[in-house]
Every structure is written in structure tokens, then in C-alpha cells.
């Protein structure tokens, strides 16, 4: 039997919890929505959903609310891995509590097909005038504009100068004309490992199509999807097989590590564990803060192919079921198409904006990030965006394609037979796409 004293204590504890919980529940059961603003009309509250860490858009919200006193912006961050499924679930249910949300440009045709984006073609002229040209394309589906690009992206080859010096390797320069080939990178990486580096090469998004598409594209293998509707998988052509064999080899030979997740790559490089790192510019502020030693150079390519680099980032669109469409459109326009708004979106994240005026200022900021290291990084990015960037395929089946490719890359990284795995992926994609035609 239980001890009466102790059971009384339990009773008291439960009682206290009950009272507290009851009071708190009653006090706190409020919902979001429209707040009345004393005497001068109503304040509209816009709900904005994004995958960045909390507070990333505080500067944007502050600046926008200062210019638009009758609008409040509530930002909601959804963990990146659950963003797509959460948005699909909520938008698919006709949720009216999302006004503006982030959309991956390559997924926009699929999202449009589901009826989850509001057409905003009336902003098209203004958008084309304000935006760097290459960024608009993925946001236009069937001749209509559905979202506005906010950011774009490119990738660099980062290196650890100390580890290269230790191995007697001359580091690459920032000159795109002297861009290193993948063979040069792996040769230097091997030497660095022989001289004590733990890892030779770290690839930031090691299992994501965004980062690995340029491997096959560099050899002329195409994006992996073809046909007028981009619903015919083509992953078993020679360039794709060659690129994936190279990708598998660097892992089998221990130049690149297995079993390390994408978000651990940056911390490992900044800890001085690797000679090379292929990744975006957003790592620079964190590495600077951590005192990491690094240099940067153009993204590598295959000698027998052409230089190609990943690109694009988030676009923002409006929920067709939003109850505040006009306010949402104005918020979107301000964030994407005005210099002030665009700069506010990148105040806490060092990622290139797609607004042309803001991009110029970003280039200066990027160049000045780490004196002596990042000088010229802005020009290099501009060069890549204009000459080597490859968009992901705007296929209505891209969502399924991208999710399936994560498994394909992981399997190949871990030793699956390349040709068999790519052929299997083609079959699976053909089945999945047959439902979309």
C-alpha cells in the first residue's frame, strides 16, 4: 500500500497543477487574427510562414510595420525538414491563417497545379524591372506570375589555407578563368589528408539535388527530367552515370566522409577538420565569428565538361485563401521589389537578394565580410549567376523528384551500384509521374 503522507503530497502537487493549469488555460486561450486599433480603423495582422531560425526576419518586420502602421506581421518559423509537408497539409485544407509563405522556386509549378498560390501577374512589370533577370523565370508558370523571388544563391569552393600549406599545395585563386577541376580538388584533398587533414572534401548539402545537379549538368547530362512537360526521367545517360560514379568514389576512397548530415558539414570545416568545402556564402558570418581559417575560390567543374553552379533560393507567394490578399500583396511587393525591403530580408542572413539594387549593396557587404579573404567574392558570385548557374527543372513533378533523389544520392554515397540505383529511380519516378499526366 502507498504511504498516506506521500499520497497526500501527490494530491497537493496535482491540486496545485490543476489550479495553475486551469487559470493559465482560461487566461491564455486567445487566437490570432485581426486586432482593433483604438479609434483609427483596424490593424490587419499578416501571417508569414518561413523555415529560418526565429528572429531572422525581425528587421524586415520592424521596417515594414514602421512604414505601414495599420499592418502587423507575425512570422512563424516551421522547421525546414517539415516545412513542405506542413504547408501542403495546411494549404490543402484551405487554411486561411497563412497569408504569405516561402516556396522553393522549383516547386512552384507543382504548388500552382494544387491551387495553393495566388496569381500576382499585376506585379509582373514592376517585378521584372526590379529583379535580377535570371531569378524571375522559375516564378512564371503558363505565362502568369505566381510568386516573387526574394533570394538567389551560388556556391563557392572554400579551402583551409593552413591544411593546404601543410601539404605543400598552392590554393586555388578567385579567378573564374583559373577555376579548378574536380580532379585538381580531389588530388589536393588527398595530399592534405596525407599531411594530416581529417577529411579531404566536405559537400554542404551532400544528399540534395540542389547541390548535386551541377555535377551531371557539368558533363552535359541535363537535369534528370526531360520532355515538354519535364515529366520524363532521364538519369541513366552516360554523364549522370559518370558524375554519380565520381560522387561515389570520393566517398569510397574516404576523401569525403559518409554518415555526416548536411548541417554538420559547416561546423566540421570551421573546426579545421577538412581541406575543402563546397557551400554557399551564408556560412561566412558564422565562420568569421568562430575564427575559422578559410579562403574561397570558384565552384569546381569536370575538365571534360562546362562549369555549372547551383542557384535559386526562396520565393515568396500568397495563399489564395488568405483573408488579407491586398495587404499580403503589398507586403510581398515591399519585401521583394523595394531596395529597403529586400535589404531588410538579408540583414541577419548573408544570402544574395534578387532585388537588383539590393544585390549591388549585398556585393559590397559580401566583399567586406572578412577583409583579405572575401574581397572579390561579390564579383565572383555575379559571374557565376550570369554564366554558370543552372536552375532546377520547373517540373510539376519536381516535389516527388527532389524527395526521391535524396534517397538516390544517399544510397549511392553508401555504396549502391550506380547504374542499378539510377535505373530504379527512373522506374519509380515514371510510376509517380504517371499520376501527374
Amino acid at each position: 500500500m502507498s504511504n498516506p503522507r506521500s499520497t497526500r503530497r501527490i494530491g497537493r502537487r496535482l491540486g496545485a497543477i490543476a489550479v495553475t493549469a486551469g487559470m493559465c488555460t482560461l487566461a491564455a486561450c486567445g487566437g490570432a487574427g485581426t486586432d482593433a486599433e483604438g479609434g483609427s480603423g483596424e490593424t490587419v495582422t499578416l501571417q508569414f510562414v518561413h523555415p529560418e531560425v526565429a528572429g531572422s526576419f525581425d528587421p524586415l518586420v520592424k521596417a515594414y510595420e514602421a512604414e505601414h502602421p495599420n499592418v502587423r506581421i507575425e512570422t512563424t518559423n516551421v522547421p525546414f525538414d517539415q516545412l513542405q509537408s506542413t504547408l501542403q497539409s495546411r494549404l490543402g485544407q484551405g487554411d486561411t491563417s497563412i497569408d504569405v509563405y516561402t516556396a522553393d522556386p522549383s516547386r512552384i509549378p507543382g504548388i500552382v497545379a494544387r491551387g495553393q498560390l495566388l496569381e500576382i501577374s499585376d506585379l509582373r512589370d514592376e517585378a521584372e524591372a526590379a529583379t535580377i533577370p535570371s531569378a524571375m523565370e522559375p516564378n512564371i508558370v503558363d505565362g502568369s506570375l505566381w510568386s516573387l523571388p526574394i533570394w538567389t544563391s551560388s556556391q563557392y569552393l572554400y579551402y583551409n589555407p593552413d591544411l593546404l600549406a601543410q601539404a605543400g599545395v598552392e590554393p586555388p585563386t578567385k579567378d573564374p578563368a583559373k577555376r579548378w577541376t574536380w580532379k585538381q580538388v580531389t588530388d589536393a584533398a588527398r595530399k592534405a589528408q596525407a599531411a594530416g587533414a581529417e577529411h579531404g572534401l566536405l559537400i554542404e548539402q551532400v544528399n540534395r539535388y540542389y547541390q548535386l545537379q551541377p555535377l551531371a549538368e557539368s558533363l552535359g547530362g541535363g537535369p534528370g527530367l526531360e520532355g515538354d512537360d519535364l515529366l520524363t526521367p532521364n538519369l541513366t545517360n552516360d554523364p549522370w552515370i559518370t558524375a554519380m560514379n565520381w560522387y561515389q568514389d570520393i566517398h569510397e576512397q574516404g576523401i569525403a566522409p559518409r554518415g555526416i548530415a548536411p548541417d554538420q558539414m559547416g561546423p566540421l570545416f570551421s573546426a579545421g577538420k577538412a581541406a575543402f568545402y563546397v557551400g554557399g556564402p551564408w556560412v561566412i558570418p558564422g565562420w568569421k565569428e568562430e575564427g575559422a581559417t578559410f579562403g574561397l575560390a570558384p565552384h569546381p567543374y569536370f575538365a571534360e565538361g562546362e562549369p555549372t553552379t547551383p542557384t535559386d533560393s526562396w520565393s515568396w507567394g500568397i495563399n489564395p485563401n488568405s483573408e488579407n490578399v491586398e495587404q499580403a500583396k503589398e507586403f510581398l511587393r515591399w519585401a521583394a521589389l523595394t531596395t529597403e525591403g529586400s535589404l531588410a530580408t538579408i540583414e541577419k542572413i548573408l544570402i544574395p537578394p534578387t532585388n537588383a539594387n539590393a544585390f549591388d549593396k549585398y556585393v559590397t557587404r559580401l566583399d567586406e565580410s572578412v577583409p583579405g579573404v572575401t574581397d572579390g567574392a561579390g564579383d565572383l558570385m555575379l559571374h557565376e549567376l550570369e554564366n554558370t548557374a543552372v536552375h532546377r527543372p520547373p517540373s510539376p513533378g519536381y516535389i516527388q523528384f527532389e524527395e526521391m533523389m535524396v534517397n538516390v544520392f544517399e544510397d549511392i554515397r553508401n555504396g549502391s551500384d550506380v547504374e542499378d540505383r539510377l535505373a530504379k529511380a527512373e522506374d519509380e519516378l515514371a510510376t509517380a509521374f504517371s499520376r501527374l499526366r
Partner: protein, 281 residues
């Protein structure tokens, strides 16, 4: 009276093996705790390969914990505590009434009701979360504490456990109470509950943990920042473009510590519960 096991070589080897296995289980936890005292992502400086410092935070600091207590994470932990506590209180009331009805009262279809209860906790909640969240939105319960608490209240497993415990109480006690003229609710209050407090603690902890670990439902229904629960806040420490592992480790320690302390506090009542179950009838 306790008896000492003889210290034969076999016992020593088995004990040493058990201790070794326990230590192996502790290693990941130790790494997380030590890394929570490493600022930013510097914990990775001691991995690949792992060094002694990966498990002993020499030269570390508490900056990750300080950063966590900037408001957002603390609020989310507070939300989780509120939701879990309310679920324990109201969920226990519901479970006790249901279990009492399914064990002490005799009515047609009682067993069928019980089968429904058992089946209800066999259906994975995640499978029904999405359509249910649409219903909750229609009812205006999105981004409210009621919306977060409500699905956790009717916990089939808690009802099952309490019913089994109630069935262990001799029926003679119930009949004697009825002969003495006690109303049903007084039988529950004065006879059943005093005998079943350890089981209540067990069911309460189950209800607490089910909400403390809840992820999919709060992601769907508690989507604004003010209603984020602790697991969501922990996941949000990792953005698409930046991640602070030090804070993630510290957040993980905090989220482990709270139910850990609760379990330790009520550990003895669990033991009582097991012992009491054995001597019934």
C-alpha cells in the same frame, strides 16, 4: 530482509558486463551534455575522431544556456509545461471516470466500449492528425491552448491501465460500500482512488510524456510563435541556412531534464504501484 548474492566469478563477470553496457548507453548522453557547454558549433572540434574533451567540457561555458533563455525557447518550454500539466489534470479526470465505468459499473455493452477504447490507442495518432487538424481549424481552435490540449485528454492507454488497476480491487469492497448506501461517486472518491493513487501517478506521467514529446500535432495546430511547444522550438534552432548545435544540445538537455526530474520525483510511487499490484486480492 535482503539477502546478499554470493560473489562468484560468474556474478562478478555478469555485473561488470551490465555496468559496461550501461556505460555504453550513457556515452551519447554524456556527449550531448558536454557539448551543451561548448559555444556555437565548437563541439565538432572534438569529434571526427572523438577526443577526451568531447565528453568532458573542459574550457566550456554556459553561453548556450544563456542564449536559450532569451524568451522564445523559455516561452515554448512554458507552453509545453502548461499543455502537459493541463492534460494531466483533465486527462486524469476523464480517464478515472471512464476506467471506473468500465470496471465497477455493470451495463450492457460494457465490454464493447472497452474494445473501442483499446482500439483507439492502437491507431497511430499521426495517421489521423491531418484530417483532425482541419476539423480543429474549422472550430477555431488553431493557435489556442485548448486546441493543443484537447486531443491529449482522452488517452486510451491511461484508461486501459486504470481499468486494469480498478479490476484488481476486491469486488467485496464495492458491494460493502453499496450496502452502506454510498453513492457511486463517493465509492470512486473514497474507496477506489485512495487505493489507486500509485496507478494515478503512472497514468499521469503517461499523459504528461505524451504531450511533452508531441511534435506533429503542435506543428499543425500550434503554428504561431506564441503557441510553439518545446519540441518545435528545439527543431527551430536549426534553420535551413544556419544551425547552432551548441544551443540544440543545451535545449535537448533542458527538455530531457524536466521529464527526468519528474520521473525521479515520482519514482518511489511507481515502485509502490508495482508492489501494491502484486498483493491485491
Amino acid at each position: 530482509m535482503r539477502t546478499r548474492m554470493p560473489s562468484t566469478p560468474g556474478v562478478v563477470v555478469r555485473t561488470a558486463g551490465a555496468v559496461m553496457v550501461s556505460l555504453l548507453f550513457l556515452i551519447p548522453l554524456l556527449w550531448v551534455v558536454a557539448s551543451s557547454f561548448r559555444p556555437g558549433n565548437s563541439a565538432f572540434g572534438y569529434t571526427s575522431p572523438f577526443t577526451f574533451e568531447a565528453f568532458v567540457p573542459l574550457g566550456g561555458d554556459v553561453s548556450n544556456y544563456v542564449a536559450l533563455f532569451d524568451g522564445y525557447f523559455v516561452r515554448a518550454v512554458g507552453n509545453s509545461l502548461l499543455v502537459a500539466a493541463a492534460t494531466v489534470v483533465f486527462g486524469l479526470v476523464l480517464s478515472v471516470f471512464a476506467a471506473f465505468a468500465l470496471s465497477a459499473l455493470q451495463f450492457p455493452g460494457r465490454e464493447a466500449f472497452f474494445v473501442v477504447v483499446v482500439l483507439s490507442f492502437l491507431i497511430p495518432f499521426d495517421a489521423i492528425a491531418i484530417p483532425m487538424s482541419a476539423q480543429f481549424r474549422d472550430w477555431g481552435l488553431a493557435n489556442t491552448y485548448v486546441g493543443l490540449i484537447l486531443p491529449g485528454l482522452a488517452n486510451g492507454f491511461a484508461i486501459f491501465v486504470l481499468r486494469q488497476f480498478f479490476l484488481g480491487i476486491p469486488r467485496e469492497l464495492l458491494e460493502a460500500a453499496r450496502v452502506d448506501g454510498l453513492a457511486w461517486w463517493r465509492i470512486l472518491w473514497q474507496v477506489y482512488l485512495p487505493l489507486c493513487r500509485p496507478a494515478l501517478v503512472g497514468a499521469g506521467l503517461m499523459l504528461f510524456l505524451s504531450q511533452w514529446q508531441s511534435y506533429v500535432w503542435p506543428l499543425l495546430i500550434g503554428s504561431d510563435t506564441e503557441h510553439h511547444l518545446a519540441p518545435i522550438a528545439l527543431a527551430n534552432l536549426r534553420g535551413q541556412l544556419e544551425v547552432n548545435f551548441g544551443q540544440i544540445f543545451a535545449g535537448s538537455v533542458v527538455l530531457t531534464l524536466i521529464p527526468g526530474l519528474l520521473l525521479l520525483t515520482f519514482q518511489r510511487h511507481f515502485t509502490d504501484s508495482v508492489a501494491a499490484t502484486g498483493i491485491k486480492d
